[in-house]
């Protein structure tokens, strides 16, 4: 497959600066509401702060790709004397937890860097500079972008099996 130059957008996280306000969750869910800013629901946010307040843990993580597999054997890590569950660092929606899944549909959510905006809004909203927007160019193999729709369908296939999904889509198509 051919190599192409691609702009990689990402958010660097300086967790030690986080004061735990969860403002990033609010603006993310408000921006992605339909229509925009019609509601706020942090459970629909594509960024989440994992917190264990008394252990000094405040860790913002933004949603990555959907993963079908539940991880086996979850380790805990101790970093700077703070104990983290392995899940704390994971950016995937997966069957074993409700993070990064739409609470109504159960479909996975993924950070789209607030497509159309200059920068992700969580970065702007965070007045403590915990989230830092970064762009860099990388050479990557050309491939079809995995759209939100595709991630959603994949998760449905995981849940119900390919055959059922195909039959359902066919049935819906007939109705139209």
């Amino acid at each position: 497959m051919a190599k192409i130059k691609k702009k990689i957008k990402t958010i660097r996280i300086e967790a030690d600066k986080c004061n735990g306000c969860r403002g990033c969750e609010i603006i993310c869910s408000a921006y992605h509401a339909e229509p925009k800013y019609s509601s706020v629901n942090p459970a629909k946010s594509r960024i989440h702060i994992t917190t264990h307040r008394l252990k000094n843990i405040w860790l913002p993580v933004f949603a990555g790709e959907y993963t079908p597999a539940e991880c086996m054997g979850r380790d805990t890590y101790i970093i700077d004397g703070k104990e983290y569950d392995e899940c704390s660092f994971c950016r995937a929606a997966c069957p074993s937890r409700d993070l990064f899944k739409d609470p109504d549909s159960g479909l996975p959510l993924r950070c789209d860097m607030c497509e159309g905006e200059e920068r992700p809004l969580c970065v702007d909203w965070c007045l403590n500079d915990v989230l830092i927007y970064e762009e860099r160019e990388e050479e990557v193999e050309e491939q079809v972008e995995m759209a939100d729709v595709q991630a959603g369908v994949e998760s449905l296939i995981d849940k119900f099996g390919l055959e059922k999904i195909v039959n359902t889509v066919a049935r819906l198509a007939q109705k139209d």
């Binding site: 403002g23 019609s38 509601s39 008394l54």
Partner: protein
Amino acid sequence: MRYAETGYNLEIDLATGNIERVETDPKMMELHLGGLGTAVKLHWDRVPPETKPFDPGNLLIFSTGLFNGTPAYSANRTIVSFISPQTGLLAYPMMGGFFSSELKYAGYDKIIFRNKSPEWVYIWIHNNKVEIRDATHLVGKGAVETQDLIREELKDPRAEVAAIGLAGENRVFVASIEQSRSSASRGGGGAIMGDKKIKAVAVRGTGGVNLARGPEFMAHLKEVEAYINYRNTNPLPGVMTILSGIGSPQEMKHYDEKWHTESFVWGNARRRRKDFWTKDIEESWKKTQKEAIKRYISCYNCPQQCGALIGHKDTPGYMMKCFSKLTYGMAAYVDDLEFGFEIAQRAFEYGVDSFSTPQILAFAVELYEAGILTDKDFEGCPSDNAGRFFWLLDRMVRREGIGDVLAEGTYWAARKIGKGAEKYDHNTIKKHEQMNIKLGMLDPLYFLMYSTNEKISITQIEGNWPQAAFPNREDREAFVEDWPQIPDEKFKQYFLDWEPRGEKSNPYYPTPQMCAEIVDWMEMLHNIDDALCICAGMASFCLKPPYHIHNYPKLISTATGMDVDEAGLKKIVNRSRNLHRAYNNRLGMSRADEKPPEDHWRRRYPELEEELLTTYYTYKGWNYNGIPTKERLHELDLDYVAQDLEKRGLYQDGKDQKENQDNQD
């Protein structure tokens, strides 16, 4: 669809275990907004004045405000309301933290508890699923540790938990409700929660809060954000450090405590130490504080960092707020700040109010030194100041020995102890411990704020108006030049003319009429904040805050969809304010209760004080006894309140109005 509010309350009858999700009348938002406003209305409708604090019929209401769960910065307060065991009046302590937004996302504006549970329980609210769960295994656990124990038990790290400690379990009159980095402290909400045998309330929500005109709301909020950024980078000159910025006094960030330690009084609100803040103290306190703070933390959706995670030496971690780092040390006469960080941890686990409690303990020490309490009362008590305080605190929350009477606060304890102890109860108003300020000259504004507000504690009634006159005219001119927050231009002139000394200074200037107007402004803004559940630190408690009377109507209109202008908003909060007043009148409060302690200021002016009170009452539309007049209640669509007051004989056949009129003439 309902906007800003969810439109549902959760009603829980603890005696029967009955749980109901009840749709509320949208009209209530138009009449009282939400938060404190609608809470007061519920108490008025459902709790008659014959109800005693520990009667099953005393409602305990956890209220969110209209802006919780919206993107409005610093909308994170939860109001807890009940008839207070200490004052016998309607109390409404507030906590920041994360509880309200989670409750909104779970789909409720309020939780209304009635009656009492036969056994210890905690409540688990997860969206539509609401359970009353056994809490016998949590009895005796700390208010802070209980929060984590419940999260573990529920296997839900995102559940927000409000809990009581031993003090609440034992119905200590100054017991608080602890939650995350915050507490609802004043007035004994923890005692009412304990009386109802609720150890904790846990909530998790994954629903949404709707905005009527979201994009417009966000545009107005952008202006608020710009101002927050401006104020954070441009502290106000000429005022003490904690007043120079926004947020709820950022005690954790500031090390300079010269003002508090030298202006407030030590011990049982007794003595100022005007030369306390030496270079050595400054260095030692700064070092202690720096080492103790592990991280600055905020409440939900707040850019400020008024709290901190504390990890002081071997003390288990906890979250500190406000200026509790000072209250115990100053009351105990312990000059080492380490004591403050150590005892606060134990006090938060016990769940006690960190303003009242230190004064109660200092009161006990004073009685002991005066021979009113004896060696028998203090048997086993260490003799050093710090040790005595830990010992007394333990006794008080367990109601052991002398602690049993101390548990009811200085007012009630003094009367139970007798033998002249009443004289040592010298810092309460309406039976509630006040800030430990004892100053020289009567301050007319503070006289009114202390005396008349339904919050009863001064700590958050003050705010937008500067605490003292600026010495230089040029500084005053510079201050008023950029002051968009004022409700009326006339206030600029009041401030320009206000001098620290001379003819236009305390106590005769601002004049009683001006004082009435200024205090009414403070109160109006606090009442808006308390309806929206915006932190006072971003509005009514600060000089030149981001939220004010000119941008609130725009934010409320776009959030809720009902069009409200400034006059309309003022009317709504005046309505709730007068309903609250009438409620407390119905509970027996009158003019006789509205006075600060005798030695609050060294120089007092009885005639002027009477004039201040009467002028203020008249301005508010209250009669000589401080009861809203029928005319005032009619203007505010509260005729049913006037009828009730009349039926109960509170108007004394119009005699009071006449007296008021005579006074004005």
